[in-house]
C-alpha cells in the first residue's frame, strides 16, 4: 500500500494531467475556430466555413468533458487538500470565483455560438464567438494565477500562525502570475494548434490532400508555429523568474548539488546521493541563462536541509523533456516557414508530415512535463515556504485503512 500523501498526490496529478489537456483546447480552440469562420466570411470560401463548423462541434464536446473534469478537480481541492483550503481558501478564492464567472460566460456563449450557427447573420455569429475567446483566456489566467500564488504566496499576514489581513487582489497578482500565466496561455494555443494540425497531418499521410485537409492543417499549424519562438522567450523569462524567486526549484530542475559561481548547464544525467552523474556539462551556461553573467552565483541544493529538497530526478527530466520538445516544435515551425518562403508551399518531405502528425501529442507532453516541473519542483511545499503538502493532505482515516 502507498501512503495517503502519495496517493493524494497521484490522484491530483492524474486529474490535473487529464484536465490540462482538455482545458488547453478550451482556451485555444475558440480563437482558431473563429479565425477560420472569419476567413470564410471575408473570402467567401466555403472550405473555411466548413472547417470552422467542424471545429465548433469538437469544441462543444471538449467543453463538456472539461466541465466534468473541472467539477472533479473542484471536489478534490477539498477531498484531498482540506488543510490548504481551510487555511487559505479565502486568500485564493478570488481567482477561482472570477474563473467561475468566466466559465459561465463561456457556457452561455458556447450555447449561443453552437445553437445559432445557421440562425444568426454571419457577422453577428462571429461576434457571438468573441466572448468565448476572451472567457477562455481569462479562465486560464485566473486558474494559473491561483497556482502562481502557491509558488509566490502573497496577500496575507501570519500573526502567531493565524492567517489575517487577507488581500485577495495582492494574492492574485503575485509576482509569479505574469510569467506563469503567459507561459501557460501560449502553451494552450500551441497544444490547440499543433493538436488540430496533427489530425490533418495524419490525413495527409493517408493521402487525403484536398483543399479541406490542406487548410485544416495550415490554419492551426501556422498559429502554433508563430507562437513557438514566442514560447522560447517566455519560457526563458519564466526560468529566470524561478532562478531569482525559487532558487531551490531551479537547482532541482538543473540538478545543481552545490552553490557555485560559473555554474554549468547539465544535459541529461541522474541525481544520486547528492550528486549529478553521467551528465553532459556546458561550462558557465547556467550562470549565463539564469543570471545573465558567466560568473554569476547559482544557488544549489546544499542551501536547504534534505527535508526541504524537491525530488530532483523527476523535476530535472521533466524540465529537459519540455525544453527539448519546445525546441523540436520550433524546428518544425522553422521548416514550415522556410518552405513557404522558398516555394510558397508546404514542405514535401514525408518526414515533415510524420513529425507534424506527432507534434500535437508532443505539445501536450510538453505541457504535462511543464506542470511536473512547477508542481513537483515546489515540493515539499504546497504553499511555498508556509505550508507543507503533508500538512495539507486530508488526515481522515483511509479506506481500506493501512497500518
Amino acid at each position: 500500500m502507498i501512503e495517503d500523501l502519495t496517493a493524494a498526490r497521484l490522484q491530483m496529478a492524474l486529474s490535473l494531467g487529464w484536465h490540462i489537456v482538455i482545458a488547453s483546447f478550451g482556451v485555444g480552440m475558440p480563437a482558431v475556430t473563429l479565425f477560420a469562420e472569419w476567413r470564410g466570411y471575408r473570402s467567401g470560401d466555403p472550405v473555411y466555413t466548413r472547417l470552422a463548423h467542424r471545429w465548433a462541434k469538437a469544441m462543444g464536446v471538449l467543453f463538456a468533458v472539461g466541465a466534468v473534469s473541472g467539477t472533479i478537480l473542484s471536489f478534490e481541492m477539498g477531498l484531498l487538500w482540506p488543510g490548504l483550503m481551510g487555511r487559505y481558501g479565502d486568500v485564493i478564492g478570488l481567482p477561482f470565483a472570477l474563473e467561475g464567472i468566466a466559465f459561465f460566460i463561456e457556457a452561455i456563449f458556447l450555447g449561443i455560438y453552437l445553437y445559432a450557427w445557421d440562425r444568426l447573420p454571419p457577422r453577428a455569429h462571429i461576434l457571438s464567438g468573441i466572448p468565448l475567446v476572451v472567457a477562455g483566456v481569462a479562465s486560464a489566467f485566473f486558474v494559473v494565477s491561483a497556482n502562481a500564488w502557491m509558488n509566490q504566496p502573497r496577500g496575507f499576514d501570519l500573526v502567531s500562525g493565524e492567517v489575517t489581513g487577507v488581500d485577495p487582489w495582492a494574492a492574485m497578482f503575485n509576482p509569479g502570475t505574469p510569467p506563469q500565466t503567459v507561459h501557460m496561455i501560449v502553451a494552450a494555443f500551441m497544444v490547440t494548434g499543433f493538436g488540430i494540425a496533427s489530425v490533418y497531418a495524419v490525413g495527409y499521410l493517408r493521402g487525403r490532400r484536398d483543399r479541406y485537409h490542406r487548410l485544416g492543417f495550415a490554419v492551426p499549424f501556422t498559429i502554433a508555429a508563430l507562437l513557438s519562438p514566442v514560447q522560447v522567450v517566455v519560457g526563458d523569462w519564466a526560468a529566470r523568474f524561478v532562478a531569482t524567486n525559487q532558487p531551490i526549484k531551479l537547482a532541482a530542475l538543473e540538478g545543481l548539488a552545490r552553490t557555485e559561481r560559473g555554474a554549468p548547464l547539465s544535459l541529461g544525467g541522474l541525481y544520486q546521493d547528492g550528486e549529478l552523474r553521467y551528465a553532459i556539462a556546458i561550462p558557465n551556461a547556467l550562470s549565463i541563462l539564469a543570471h545573465g553573467s558567466p560568473n554569476a552565483e547559482v544557488i544549489g541544493l546544499d542551501q536547504v536541509p534534505d527535508e526541504d529538497e524537491p525530488p530532483v530526478n523527476p523535476v530535472k527530466w521533466a524540465f529537459q523533456i519540455m525544453v527539448a520538445i519546445g525546441f523540436g516544435l520550433l524546428g518544425l515551425a522553422a521548416w514550415w516557414a522556410l518552405a513557404w518562403w522558398r516555394r510558397r508551399g508546404p514542405p514535401r518531405s514525408t518526414w515533415f508530415w510524420r513529425a507534424a502528425a506527432v507534434a500535437g501529442i508532443a505539445a501536450a507532453v510538453a505541457v504535462e512535463a511543464g506542470w511536473v516541473v512547477t508542481e513537483v519542483g515546489r515540493q515539499p511545499w504546497i504553499v511555498y515556504g508556509h505550508l507543507r503538502t503533508a500538512e495539507a493532505v486530508n488526515p481522515a482515516r483511509g479506506w481500506p485503512p493501512v497500518c
Binding site: V68, T71, S74, G86, R87
Partner: protein, 304 residues
C-alpha cells in the same frame, strides 16, 4: 444584510439551480435505467437522449460555482465538510465521471453489447451521484459533520437515518423533475404515447416523493431533533410553500398543463432546499464536541 448572509444566499441560489437543472439530468438517467428492455425502452431512451443531449454535462457549471463559492466564502466549513465526508463525495465524483464518459461513449459505440454496458454505467451513476450527494447533505443537516478538518466520523457522518432519507429523497426529486420536464419535451416532439407514459411517471413519482418527504419528517424527529425543531419553527413557512407547490403540481399534471407545471414543480423542489436552510440557520456546522470519544483502534491492512 451581512456579507455572510449575502454569500449564503448566492450559494443557495447556485445549489438550487444545480438541483433543478443538474437534478433533471440525473433524473433523466434514472428513467433511462428503468426504461425497460432494449427494444421496448428504445423510444423512451431516444427522447431522453434528445432532451439532455444539447446540455449534456454542462449543468455541472452550477456545481462548480457552488463548490468554489463554498471554499472562498467559508473556507474552514468547506475543509471540514469535504474531509469528513470524503467517501460519499468521492463516490459522487466517480459517478459524475462515469455518467459523462458513458453518455459520450454510448453515442459513439456500435455494438449492442457496448451500448448496453455504457448505458448501464450512465444510468447507474445517474442514481448513485444524487444519492451520495444527498447522504452528504444529510450528514450536515443532522449535525454529524463537526467543524475541524476530518473531525467527524468518516462512516456515521453519512451512514445514518437522516443521510439515507436525504439520499433517497434526492434520487426521487431528480426522477420527478425529469419526468415533469420530459412530458413537455415529448409533447413538443409530437410523441403522444410518450406524453402519456411520462405523465403517469410524473404523477407516480410526485406522489412517492411527497410521501417519502412526509415520512422523512418522522425520521428527522427521531434522528435530527434540532433540524426537526427548525422545520417546525422558522422553516415552516418555506416548507409549506413546498407542500402547496407539490400538491398543485400534481393537479396541473392531471389536468394537462405541462408547461406551467415545470415552474411549480421547480418551486416545490427549490422550497425544500430553502426550508432546510431556514431550519438550520444560523448554524453551519457544530463545534467539535469535547465529549467525542477518540476513534477506536481498528483492524487494518498491512503496509507492504
Amino acid at each position: 444584510m451581512s456579507t455572510a448572509i449575502a454569500l449564503l444566499v448566492v450559494l443557495w441560489l447556485g445549489l438550487t439551480l444545480y438541483t433543478l437543472l443538474g437534478g433533471a439530468d440525473f433524473g433523466a438517467g434514472f428513467w433511462d435505467l428503468v426504461a425497460g428492455g432494449t427494444r421496448r425502452g428504445a423510444a423512451r431512451r431516444e427522447l431522453i437522449e434528445h432532451s439532455i443531449g444539447p446540455v449534456w454535462e454542462a449543468n455541472h457549471v452550477w456545481l462548480i460555482l457552488v463548490v468554489t463559492l463554498f471554499w472562498t466564502a467559508f473556507p474552514p466549513a468547506f475543509a471540514s465538510f469535504a474531509s469528513t465526508l470524503y467517501i460519499p463525495l468521492t463516490v459522487a465524483a466517480l459517478g459524475i465521471i462515469g455518467r459523462g464518459a458513458a453518455f459520450a461513449f454510448r453515442k459513439a459505440s456500435e455494438s449492442l453489447a457496448e451500448q448496453r454496458l455504457y448505458g448501464a454505467t450512465f444510468a447507474a451513476s445517474s442514481v448513485l451521484t444524487p444519492f451520495f450527494l444527498g447522504t452528504a447533505v444529510g450528514g450536515v443537516a443532522s449535525r454529524r459533520v463537526p467543524s475541524g478538518v476530518a473531525a467527524g466520523d468518516i462512516w456515521t457522518s453519512w451512514l445514518n437515518p437522516t443521510s439515507i432519507f436525504c439520499g433517497v429523497l434526492a434520487v426521487g426529486v431528480c426522477a420527478y423533475l425529469a419526468a415533469v420536464y420530459l412530458i413537455a419535451d415529448a409533447r413538443r416532439a409530437g410523441k403522444q404515447v410518450l406524453v402519456a407514459e411520462f405523465r403517469r411517471r410524473a404523477l407516480i413519482t410526485g406522489v412517492v416523493v411527497g410521501v417519502v418527504a412526509l415520512a422523512g419528517v418522522a425520521v428527522l424527529a427521531a434522528d435530527a431533533p434540532a433540524l426537526y425543531d427548525g422545520l417546525r419553527g422558522q422553516g415552516l413557512p418555506v416548507a409549506a410553500v413546498s407542500i402547496v407547490a407539490g400538491v398543485g403540481s400534481l393537479v396541473l399534471i392531471a389536468v394537462g398543463r405541462y408547461r406551467v407545471v415545470r415552474l411549480t414543480a421547480a418551486v416545490a423542489v427549490a422550497a425544500l432546499l430553502w426550508a432546510w436552510a431556514a431550519a438550520q440557520y444560523p448554524l453551519m456546522l457544530p463545534r467539535t464536541s469535547p465529549s467525542t470519544p477518540p476513534p477506536a483502534p481498528q483492524r487494518c491492512w498491512p503496509r507492504y
